[in-house]
């Protein structure tokens, strides 16, 4: 078995964060959180449920990881809810446990921005828009993930709050994992193998809270990696 990719490690880290019986919701480009959910369900969280927001599909088991949220492969799942009803459940507050989210910008308090870089009235960059991110405040906990760990993405304060960071618990990037300190400021939690704390600090556009010592993210176990690769026969997470 070849060495794991950074994206595979991210999937493993996210999977470890999901608990049995939780209901996890994800949005656009669901391959990574979907892989993480299936991995968690296979290994330590058999009662986990996951909901692909765009299509409304619950617990889909596609033969390969989908590149998009409304992939017809997904909607063959055991149950597809109308997206309208997903919206109801997102607002209800006690139906969904974990929201997997990201952003053009992610700030020191975990706020996410999918709207714009620069002034809202005349943005330098217009993003796609907020979609369901206001519901971040309605779930129990939020896992933030992004492939872009750089100072443009990780900023002291987002230019626009699409969804608030008040429930954010974990941030997963190709370089590190982060959690939040007592004042809910993002804190380095572990660096991935081969990455130094200094590299993470330099890739982050604000001053990360630092723990007394920074552990290394545990590598994927053989079982984790084998299970994950069986879910990803096309190697989407290795590209």
């Amino acid at each position: 078995m070849s060495a794991w990719s950074r994206t595979e490690l991210m999937a493993v880290v996210m999977a470890r964060a999901f608990r049995d019986r939780e209901v996890v919701v994800m949005g656009a480009v669901p391959a990574l959180p979907l892989a993480a959910c299936r991995l968690a369900k296979a290994l330590h969280a058999p009662g986990l449920s996951y909901l692909v927001g765009g299509s409304g599909t619950v617990d889909p088991k596609p033969a390969a990881l989908p590149s998009q949220s409304c992939d017809p492969e997904l909607t063959g799942g055991p149950c597809t809810l109308p997206l309208h009803e997903v919206v109801l459940l997102e607002g209800r507050g006690d139906a969904l446990d974990v929201f997997c989210a990201g952003g053009l910008q992610i700030d020191a308090n975990g706020n996410c921005n999918l709207v714009c870089v620069g002034d809202h009235a005349r943005p330098k960059l217009r993003g796609p828009g907020s979609v369901g991110l206001p519901f971040l405040s309605a779930v129990k906990r939020v896992v933030i993930y992004t492939m872009a760990h750089n100072p443009r993405t990780f900023v002291e304060r987002v230019d626009f709050v699409s969804g608030a960071g008040d429930r954010a618990e974990l941030v997963v990037t190709p370089l590190a994992t982060m959690d939040f300190d007592g004042s809910h400021r993002m804190r380095l939690a572990s660096v991935h193998p081969g990455v130094t704390a200094q590299e993470v600090v330099e890739a982050t556009g604000f001053e990360l809270a630092m723990p007394p010592s920074v552990p290394e993210t545990p590598e994927p176990s053989r079982e984790e990696l084998e299970t994950l690769r069986a879910l990803d026969p096309e190697g989407l997470l290795r590209r």
Binding site: A28, V29, G54, S55, G56, T57, S67, Q68, S69, C70, P72, T75, T80, P82, L83, H84, V87, E90, G91, R92, G93, L114, V115, H120, R122, P123, K124, L125, R126, G127, P128, G129, S130, V131, G132, L133, P134, F135, L136, S137, A138, F160, V161, S162, G163, A164, D166
Partner: protein, 256 residues
Amino acid sequence: MTRFLDPAEAAAELVPAGSCVAVGGMHTTSAPMALVRELVRQEIRIGRLVTSPSTSIQADLLIGAGLVDELVAPYVGFEDLGLAPCFRRAVEQGTVRLLESDEGGLTHALYAGSAGIPFVPLPPGIEHSDIPASCPELYQQVDDPFTKERRWAVRALRPDVALIACAEADGEGNVAFGRPPFTDRVMALAARRLVVQVERLVSSEAIAEREPGTTLPAFLVSAVVVAPGGCLPTAAAGFYPRDEAALRDYLEAARS
């Protein structure tokens, strides 16, 4: 009585210039592209374009053609394929008036529109986002008469016409979705007129055999447009996947 029209007739006769038009389909799936292309070809101006919570080429093409005055769309993008080039440019250059919105607000606004409800308070959480304060036209605060708490509320949306894509219709104009409904049912119910693009005509018996709640009755359908392949380059569940090459070509061509 439902009319049976070709895409050009439906666009010309049922989408008045300057009206509020809702266009269904989610991400790159089930977009009524045969109808959207006719709006572009006939250069029909859209006073306000309302989309699904996540939309892609069905909005970007209209924006790129310079036909959209005002836009209500919580997400315009191509998901794994990239950002929406015309949308992005139009907002950055200020050539479209974007009303900032979110998935919950849009969906409840259409629910309100479908039911004669003037506005709907939103669930808690929205106050932590910058969205409602940035769009007073859609979001205002209201006092809960039961708890006296102050809440954000969204104003009802009633599109003049909705364009959606479904699998099948019968000769009377009854329609079967034949796919995940996303928010297209409430969009269809909220609109004053409804044009449904379908892949094929089937017998009334075939529609009747569909499960309750997965069809729409003819009296709600102003026109049926039979357009096999009419969702392309987006997907039509059960018929064809999205045409990724064509979508990438579009993104490349629309970049400038």
